[in-house]
């Protein structure tokens, strides 16, 4: 009985600007069920970080509890990670981010982790515009605890051996839009051509970047009656339009397809090109909400980049915090002494 990933890779594997191959961004071998959508999301994160030539040690992966929340073990094995408590990933991410603003925070959560137990935490991280990528691997069920319906299950959707779900579903993209997220996208684990540029855009975005990735649970919720199974999603998904992500240093080489209808320059100078029909701007939050609702009413799943505000001000900016990571401050700055505390207290009198 062996289940070990071989060390050998394709000898022609491309390298990125750092001289790394995709192998440098891999993690441990997945223990998820064979065919779980979550593994494809991990592969997409690996691909995005490889293509952006992100130094693995600059990334912190943070998650809660669930099959989805287990996945940070399976990608970016050379990065930092914190597997926290069920639904509590946002507070751990907030704390880490405030202590060290120089890291790249990638939060991975599930629909149970985010829309049930962690809904309150999610709401506040969103409205604070915490600078992080927040990915929900949405399978409409609690995979890890054997497939109970989650709060994102659509009315009438039924999992394996389950009854049709009687409750209204939470649409996490609509919620994120309402709560003030500054980068909102939806995608499908089975569509890496769409998902990888969305993750790249989210990594480059400054502020709260939320991606709801429909990621089928093959074991409990890939039934013909489920609206989160591979076949249903493929048949019902529609894209806002194609998206290209052009990183800063690539711009001169112009290796993107021409013919885009909208262009968004992100905080770090990288550019998003959208090939989208219709007049609605991707910077229009209300239009995005309308489009999501409209598609839902027609029984379609709208995917792609729904909304982005490239001029958003992330939490550190709002709070006016110190510009460096706390670990780079000296003891005198970090512990200014009891007199400093007294002065602060006095200022409130």
């Amino acid at each position: 009985m062996t289940y070990i990933r071989p060390q050998f890779r394709h000898p022609n594997l491309p390298t990125n600007e750092l001289g790394f191959t995709r192998q440098h961004y891999e993690g441990a071998l997945s223990t998820l069920c064979a065919g779980c959508g979550h593994d494809s999301v991990s592969a997409a994160i690996i691909e995005a970080c490889f293509e952006l030539a992100i130094e693995p040690h600059r990334v912190a992966k943070i998650s809660g509890i669930g099959c989805s929340s287990k996945t940070p073990t399976y990608f970016l094995g050379n990065s930092h990670g914190f597997n926290s408590v069920h639904g509590r990933m946002p507070s751990v991410a907030t704390g880490a981010n405030l202590a060290n603003r120089e890291m790249i925070y990638v939060g991975v959560s599930g629909d149970g982790d985010t829309a049930s137990i962690g809904l309150g935490q999610f709401a506040h991280a969103t409205r604070r515009n915490l600078n992080m990528v927040y990915i929900v691997e949405n399978n409409g069920c609690y995979g890890l605890t054997k497939g109970q319906d989650s709060a994102t299950a659509d009315v009438g959707s039924a999992s394996k051996k389950g009854d049709p779900n009687p409750y209204e579903a939470i649409d996490l993209c609509a919620l994120a839009l309402q709560l003030g997220a500054t980068y909102v996208a939806r995608s499908f684990s089975g569509d890496k051509a769409q998902l990888v540029p969305l993750i790249k855009g989210a990594l480059a975005h400054s502020g709260f970047a939320f991606i709801d990735v429909i990621s089928p649970c093959v074991t409990f919720n890939d039934t013909p009656q489920s609206t989160k199974g591979y076949e249903f999603v493929r048949e019902h998904m529609e894209a806002t339009g194609k998206m290209d992500f052009v990183p800063v240093r690539k711009e001169i080489t112009a290796d993107y397809e021409p013919g885009y209808t909208q262009e968004v320059t992100l905080h770090d100078g990288s550019v998003i090109h959208l090939y989208k029909e219709g007049a609605d701007s991707v910077r229009d939050r209300d239009a995005a909400l309308r489009a999501v609702r409209e598609h839902k009413r027609r029984g379609r799943i709208l995917t792609g980049l729904l909304y982005v505000n490239p001029d958003s001000q992330e939490l550190h900016h709002i709070l006016g915090t110190v510009k460096t990571a706390l670990r780079d401050l000296g003891e005198a700055d970090l512990c200014p002494g009891s007199q400093a505390l007294t002065n602060i207290n006095n200022s409130f009198r």
Binding site: N12, A34, D39
Partner: protein, 593 residues
């Protein structure tokens, strides 16, 4: 592209690189697994069925399988396929009970074989179980052909050869040794139903016009004649200073033999650049290790004779120039000729066929180079009763090629004697069987070891040089043999895809360590090869293409870098991928095992 037809035996055959490259198509991974399992006799028999001389070939094969081996593409060096064969031969137990049964009642057909080399012996082995009566003629006193007269015993001990020749002769061959066949017409007149010519390529090339050739004759030998004289102990020593002319394996055998017979300053001098020499890299290494310098880019000008005695040779220094088509010419550098002193010269500059004993009026066509017209598939000559094989058919090759020819000749002779069309060849036997035993369990060892290729230990150099019978290579011991066997990637365990089961979840794409698998829009092969996640640049390896899937895309797998690790099948939720062992067996005239 059209969906791949995996029912075509040639498709998966190509994926088993070593077996495909082996002229006799020995099922290599099958025997390597048996070695790993310690089943040496079974491993030996798989070889014996296919290549007839596992002990000999495990020491001497030209091993075309190794440059082809997939392992050499995913890491530095191929599996030591050839030396593993020797592990099977060295560790097997008595196989006499496993040899094919030869009927005591004959089928009434009589076959004559000329030459007792590997080609003839293979024909004999394949036909005897069918009841043919076999007469074998050779001018030498024992069987084996060039394996006995040419390959030095420090590479191939005599008892190994005797054993494997003996298995075949013991099956009831009627031998006529010390019998030179001087007339094919005469042989045909004896009423044989078919005659096989396996007489090899017995004539060594000379430099008859080089100045000094006649005067120095007493000190000049044709390499292959000299090696035969050493093998049969007509020659036991050689003067101290020896020049060997030539850059092939015969030159390497000559120089190394000369070192053992008393040659102290033995040099190989070759016209071409070192890198272009015909000798296998390992033969060159072994010669250099025995203190034999190889001097390249030197074209012989003259045998220098003083006082009626050879004192040395003069050479022109040249350099290789290559034209636009890569054709080489050796151009003189214009420098002064160089003189190398010597007492003896061994000429190993090539071999030719010669058929002085075949009359030209017996319906056998010969071309302008005096080579017989032989069909490349049936090995039949223009005289339907006469077949050629081994070095006699198309010029000098090697043992394994002679064996491969022998199998086909036996099939042809059997068809011919039964009055059937020799051109209608039986198809190879193939099986394709799932290896799944349970979750994470396969009936082959799918785990991939990263060990680098193990080196075969050598005998002490001084001891080896003091006696030409001391075998230089010692072979792998059992423990090292096991570790080397574990390097094999099991390329015969195929990834078989069932499109009807695929849900396009990408699990296989995500897990595949070498990025072989793609789900992509179909296209022409050329564009498809470029469009894959890792472009499929090795045109020797096929693309495996499915029929259209639900999304209208197709699955395209580049077979080139597949490690046969089974992870795609492991990660597939619907078992659309399965690992199935493909066994390809060249059809023999009679079942052997």
């Amino acid at each position: 592209m059209k969906p791949t037809n995996i029912k075509d035996p040639e498709f998966f055959h190509r994926v088993v690189d070593c077996q495909y490259a082996c002229p006799a198509h020995t099922p290599v991974p099958e025997y390597i697994r048996l070695i790993a399992a310690g089943r040496y006799t079974d491993a030996y028999m798989i070889n014996w069925e296919s290549n007839v001389f596992p002990g000999v070939l495990g020491r001497t094969c030209d091993r075309p399988c190794e440059p082809a081996c997939r392992r050499g593409r995913v890491e530095a060096e191929p599996v030591a396929i050839c030396r593993l064969k020797r592990v099977a031969a060295d560790n097997k137990s008595d196989i006499s009970g496993r040899l094919p049964k030869v009927p005591s009642r004959k089928n009434g057909k009589r076959i004559a074989l000329v030459g007792a080399g590997p080609a003839s012996l293979t024909v004999a082995r394949d036909l005897l179980p069918l009841g043919y009566a076999i007469d074998l003629y050779d001018e030498q006193a024992k069987g084996g052909g060039f394996m006995r007269s040419q390959i030095p015993s420090f590479r191939l001990p005599e008892q190994v050869l005797d054993e494997e020749v003996g298995y075949i002769l013991g099956m009831g061959v009627v031998t006529h040794f010390n019998h030179y066949v001087d007339s094919l017409k005469g042989l045909l007149a004896k009423g044989y139903d078919a005659v096989f010519v396996g007489s090899g390529a017995p004539r060594g090339r000379d430099l008859p016009k080089l100045p000094g050739r006649q005067d120095a004759d007493a000190s000049i030998h044709i390499g292959i004649d000299w090696l035969a004289s050493v093998a049969f102990e007509h020659i036991k020593d050689i003067p101290k200073r020896v020049i060997v002319l030539g850059g092939g394996n015969t030159a390497m055998d000559c120089c190394r033999t000369a070192r053992r017979l008393g040659g102290e300053e033995v040099k190989v001098i070759v016209r071409s650049p070192f890198a272009d020499m015909k000798a296998s890299p390992w033969e060159k290494e072994d010669a250099i290790h025995e203190d034999i310098p190889i001097i390249d880019n030197h074209v012989p000008l003259e045998f220098v004779v003083e006082g009626g005695k050879l004192v040395g040779m003069k050479f022109d220094r040249v350099e290789a120039r290559y034209d636009a088509d890569g054709k080489r010419s050796l151009v003189s550098t214009g420098a002064e000729p160089v003189f190398y002193p010597c007492d003896t010269v061994l000429m190993a500059i090539g071999q030719e066929n010669a058929f002085p004993w075949i009359e030209r009026d017996i319906d056998i066509e010969f071309d302008q180079w005096e080579m017989p017209a032989v069909d490349r598939i049936t090995f039949q000559s223009s005289n339907p009763r006469v077949f050629f094989g081994g070095d006699a058919a198309f010029g000098p090759e090697n043992i394994i090629t002679a064996v491969a020819h022998g199998h086909q000749v036996a099939v042809s002779i059997d068809l011919f004697c039964r009055g059937e069309k020799v051109a209608e060849r039986p198809l190879p036997g193939t099986t394709l069987i799932s290896q799944k035993m349970g979750i994470h369990e396969w009936s082959y060892d799918s785990q991939i070891d990263t060990d680098a290729r193990y080196k075969v230990p050598h005998a002490d150099k001084a001891a080896a040089l003091s006696d030409r019978r001391v075998e230089v290579e010692l072979g792998f011991d059992v423990a090292t043999g096991y570790k080397e066997a574990e390097r094999c990637l099991n390329c015969d365990v195929q990834t078989v895809f069932a499109e009807s089961l695929c849900i396009e979840c990408d699990a296989c794409v995500d897990i595949c360590p070498t990025d072989c698998i793609n789900f992509i829009a179909n296209d022409e092969e050329e564009s498809l090869r470029q469009a894959l996640r890792m472009p499929a640049l090795n045109l020797d390896q096929p693309l495996y293409v499915s029929a259209a899937l639900k999304t209208a895309r197709v699955m395209v797998k580049d077979e080139d870098m597949c490690l046969h690790c089974g992870l795609c099948a492991e990660r597939c939720p619907t078992s659309a991928w399965d690992m199935q062992k493909f066994l390809y067996q060249v059809t023999k005239a009679a079942p052997i095992l």
